[in-house]
Symmetry: C2
Subunit: 293 residues, 2 copies
Amino acid sequence: MRIAFIGLGTMGAPMAGRLLDAGFDVIVHNRTRERERALVERGATAAASPAEAAAHADVIVTMVSDTPDVEAILFGPDGVAQGARRDAIVVEMSTIAPEAVRAMGARLAAQGVALLDAPVSGGSEGAQQGTLSIMVGGDAADLERVRTVLEVFGRTITHVGPSGAGQVAKAMNQVIIAGTYAAVAEGLALGMAAGIDVEAAHRALQGGAAGSWGLTHRGPNMLDNTYPLGFRVRLHRKDLGIALDTAAALGVPIPLAAYVAQLETGLVKRGYGDEDVSAIARVVREQAGLEER
Amino acid sequence: MRIAFIGLGTMGAPMAGRLLDAGFDVIVHNRTRERERALVERGATAAASPAEAAAHADVIVTMVSDTPDVEAILFGPDGVAQGARRDAIVVEMSTIAPEAVRAMGARLAAQGVALLDAPVSGGSEGAQQGTLSIMVGGDAADLERVRTVLEVFGRTITHVGPSGAGQVAKAMNQVIIAGTYAAVAEGLALGMAAGIDVEAAHRALQGGAAGSWGLTHRGPNMLDNTYPLGFRVRLHRKDLGIALDTAAALGVPIPLAAYVAQLETGLVKRGYGDEDVSAIARVVREQAGLEER
């Protein structure tokens, strides 16, 4: 199977590398062309544009930052739509708006090209180790056509519904992370302000009903007030923007997520956008006068 | 070791039973005296008042609902303070205000009686099975004096600081549960409104950074919109009241917990107070027009 991989950033580059290691025939393209070189040295073929990358591919994977980037890659000049063969399948793995991905799917379908939305969670570490969780929207039969490809990227591949559903599931993920991390930050700030042994309390709380991945794996960041990556605040803020727009269009109030988005807006403005999203606790600590322990 | 156990409710009755099973000499007292009978049939001695229960005990355990109940048991007419021997130790396992427990400890200390605050998490199931998590505030040496008793009740016994610290840790627990459950409810409501396969999305999200005890064990309640116990909304609301007062006194803003407390206030008013606390999702669903799926 021939695979075009477009978007060789923090996520895309290791994912394309894993395809090469797995023995796939890989064509790579990136807007900043130098990023193709390392993969070409490992056996990939470089393509000058998305259209050229798509021209000889059975599967076209896109992994970039935001909705406009995907629009440009698919439908811009020399875009995928210009080059893709009938019966090719596009796997859109960026986190973008569910509405947008549905519209893209309809446009591609008109020329016989299928599209799956398949956003991931698990971060750059998951991309390197092939342990991403992949949430897939689109036709279930199309998913079966590319399952062997997705298995190179992730351990859990879940079909969650028709086109756009993968993006909705990713939005759910980011909404839950927002409130959960903020809740952990509130609880820990209370303990710190009271002067109890918060490390001991943190251990005690992990096994019970207050337990979460965030408490276990990001609680220590919050106690130390240092936020190594992880997943960037500014990307989580971008994803919450998508979730809030989607929720508003559906008439679903999500006040906790909306509140946390405001905290993140301030963090980005103040230069903390490249810290881990657990930096939400910075604000919670500051509001309690706990900047320094 | 002779143990007085005062408060034979949903939590206290199975805990006193476990002490009998473990071979301890147990004196029981409950405001509604009939509740003593089942334990007397299993070998406990009934006492007519907290003072009488305390008179012959090395350790006095209290397990009731709220601060005023504990006040009455310890310092009311025929209270523990009237009967307790010098060198006795009171283990206060109810969830009450940290400030109040510190004051109680000081009063008892004046007559040579020690006090530990040792609130629990793990619910009635944990009480029955001896799997509670116990967060202990007070003198570490006093904890060692009663550790064999606490081991009958719980699997994790964590000393978290001086008098009142156990109650602070419990408040942290309830604050984190509030925001985490509400975040899960928001995420699931978004998926339901979008019409994706939310059961599949729920499975996919559990293993990642959005994962929590609440998502795994209470998400299904929220998807079904049925909330079997569990831990009662009205008791969680009571505990959040303690947490909010404590946080306010310390100058710690906890807006997520405050918001969730408002939702719970409405739930209690409308007759949902005896449902599990995951019923927070009732309101989140209603606000999104998702009452019925």
